[in-house]
């Protein structure tokens, strides 16, 4: 009974850590423009940070071969020819951390040409570390229950 209650408590705490809404700092949306250089097989800068609600413009400049930039989660992309630039504008309305990656085959390491854009704070990372912490904290009492009930079963079998 105590085991089930503890387990239920742990699951509920886990759900709170994973899904409870967090306070969002009130920052007025801005227009943000980044010039991102693309070369085999890296972006520069490779990490972008914006606030939720910002209107983001990425000016992609390709310095060697044709490169693209596809943003995970937003499902939008742009391509730039060698020596040329291209613009991608979007409203960063989904908070979190997203990879952006080359979507035009540009050479051997093309599948790993990756950058990262963080919209607001990377809540899911903190929530995940919170879940891992909760798992470790909850593990000790639960495993103690399991060990006790295992010993009890063994004693019952022996008697």
């Amino acid at each position: 009974m105590r085991l089930h209650f503890s387990l239920l408590l742990l699951v509920m705490a886990g759900l709170v850590v994973a899904f409870a809404p967090l306070p969002v700092p009130a920052v007025a949306p801005q227009e943000r423009t980044f010039e991102v250089d693309a070369r085999q097989y890296a972006y520069s800068p490779s990490e972008l940070k914006v606030n939720a609600g910002d209107t983001v413009t990425i000016k992609l400049v390709s310095t060697d071969v044709v490169h693209g930039l596809y943003v995970d989660g937003y499902d939008i992309s742009v391509e730039a020819d060698p020596g040329q630039s291209a613009r991608l504008t979007f409203v960063a309305d989904k908070p979190g951390s997203f990879r952006f990656r080359c979507n035009v085959t540009c050479g051997a390491m093309h599948p790993f040409m990756i950058g990262k854009i963080t919209v607001g704070t990377n809540d899911w990372l903190y929530r995940s570390i919170g879940l891992a912490s909760l798992a470790v904290i909850g593990f000790f009492p639960l495993s103690s229950f399991l060990n006790q009930s295992k010993k009890k079963d063994e004693r019952n079998i022996a008697s």
């Binding site: 085959t105 051997a108 990372l125 891992a132 593990f139």
Partner: protein
């Protein structure tokens, strides 16, 4: 949960006992393998459109690490085509009853090599070149062909499957993680094996060959070295071999007592973290260093890679367990407690592979229709556009995998730890490593 003997089901037993179903799968696999070599050597140099890259490093890898290893342990080894040509030549037969006369040298592998250090080294060699290997078709083709020929060469010199058991870079980590799988091949009754005359499961008989993996089933307590080839099911005259369904990680309660196996756990643990940073991270300098083999930057990358795996990770682990006292020697505790890294290591690979595979799986459709990039369109999907899959559930799935791995490892640490000593340092170590992996992936 007790074990459920799957071989009690007549269909399963007959399927496993007959050589024909396995041979059919072997032939398909061997044809696919040879085709992958050819595609790597003569197909398009564009990796993301080459059959060898797409099918080996995306499709096969996904099946291996997300399904085969976690649920079937060495299930891949049961159908792997690499040892086949060498084994057929060694036996002088494909299906015929065994001939007692050895066809080639049939030497015993020297004692100093009867461990997995060579597998650790072969994996690390591939790992250091992996950025080029994973992305360059002709390098993949050459490595696949080399593995086939080395396996043939070792079959000519040594008895049984020396390549699989002592050298295969993939077999080493499959063996390590197969201990977590809910499938095992074991004897039913030890006394039957003790009284058995001739030990045909190990030495062979008219019914089949002696264990190709050089394992005596009667003494087997973990999955690590059983290749699930099913030869012992065919040769056992007492019907004393069973394939069982069992709880996950049943083998891990009996900790390893070998340094080579302990370091295998660290190698795989560290490699998953390094790959997550280098391949999936946003740091172009790291990618350049890993890809440009032979340059100064690559040598620096190789030194750091090896230092993390052989010094940093085991060093911090040792410092952690030194904070608690136990009756066993430090070396003994290092070896047994490293077992706790096995479930988390597997989940590191699952989390890493989810990202890599879901992002690149759409290449499979194009490569399937035009495997040699000759302009074919066999299934009408040759021009399928690249599109990442399930990106919205990727992060939660990775978190779930890592948190499950953390709890699984903590539980394993408690099981393998000697009575009266604390597992807290190992659990803290696993927590810190999990947090780093989360930071690298999310």
């Amino acid at each position: 949960m007790n074990r459920i003997e799957l071989t009690r089901i007549p269909f399963i037993k007959n399927t496993l006992k007959s050589r024909y179903p396995q041979l059919a799968v072997f032939i398909v696999m061997l044809v696919g393998y040879i085709f992958a070599i050819l595609a790597g050597l003569i197909g398009t140099p564009v990796g993301s459109h080459n059959f060898s890259i797409v099918f080996v490093w995306i499709a096969w890898w996904a099946i291996l690490i997300l399904v085969a290893v976690p649920f079937f342990g060495r299930g891949w080894c049961a159908v792997c085509p690499i040892p086949l040509p060498g084994e057929w030549l060694q036996r002088g037969a494909i299906l015929a009853p065994p001939d007692k006369r050895p066809k080639w040298l049939n030497l015993r592998v020297p004692k100093m090599f009867r461990n997995i250090w060579m597998q650790n080294i072969s994996f690390l060699l591939l790992a250091l070149f992996s950025s080029a290997l994973l992305t360059t078709p002709n390098i993949t083709g050459i490595v696949l062909a080399a593995m086939l020929f080395v396996a043939i060469g070792l079959s000519a010199i040594f008895e049984r499957r020396a390549f699989c058991r002592y050298l295969c870079p993939v077999g080493g980590f499959i063996g390590l993680y197969s201990q977590t799988a809910p499938i095992e091949l074991r004897i039913k009754d030890k006394q039957v094996c003790v009284k058995c005359v001739g030990k045909p499961c190990y030495n062979g008989s008219d019914a089949g060959y002696g264990c190709p993996w050089d394992v005596f089933p009667g003494g087997m307590t973990k999955n690590t070295y059983c290749g699930l080839c099913m030869e012992c099911i065919r040769t056992c005259p007492h019907d004393n071999i069973a394939v069982n369904l069992r709880p996950f990680s049943a083998d891990l309660a009996k900790p390893t007592a070998r340094l080579d196996e302990a370091f295998k756990a660290f190698i795989m643990f560290g490699a998953a973290m390094i790959y997550a940073g280098v391949l999936l991270g946003p740091w172009g300098t790291l990618k350049d260093a890993a890809y440009n083999v032979g340059t100064g930057a690559w040598f620096m990358y190789a030194v750091i890679f090896l230092a993390i795996i052989f010094i940093v990770l085991p060093g911090l682990f040792t410092l952690g367990i030194m904070t608690t006292k136990g009756r066993q020697s430090l070396k003994q505790r290092f070896m047994s407690l490293s077992t706790a890294l096995i479930p988390l290591g597997l989940m590191f690979w699952v989390a890493f592979s989810l990202s890599f595979v879901l992002t690149n799986a759409s290449y499979i459709l194009a490569a399937l229709s035009d495997p040699l990039a000759l302009g074919w369109n066999l299934f009408g999907t040759a021009n399928a556009a690249w599109q990442p899959m399930l990106t919205t559930i990727l992060a939660p799935a990775q978190t779930l995998a890592l948190v499950v791995g953390l709890v699984w490892s903590a539980r394993t640490a408690q099981k393998v730890n000697e009575a009266g000593t604390s597992t807290i340092p190992v659990i803290v170590y696993c927590f810190v490593a999990t947090s780093i992996m989360l930071w690298l992936l999310l």
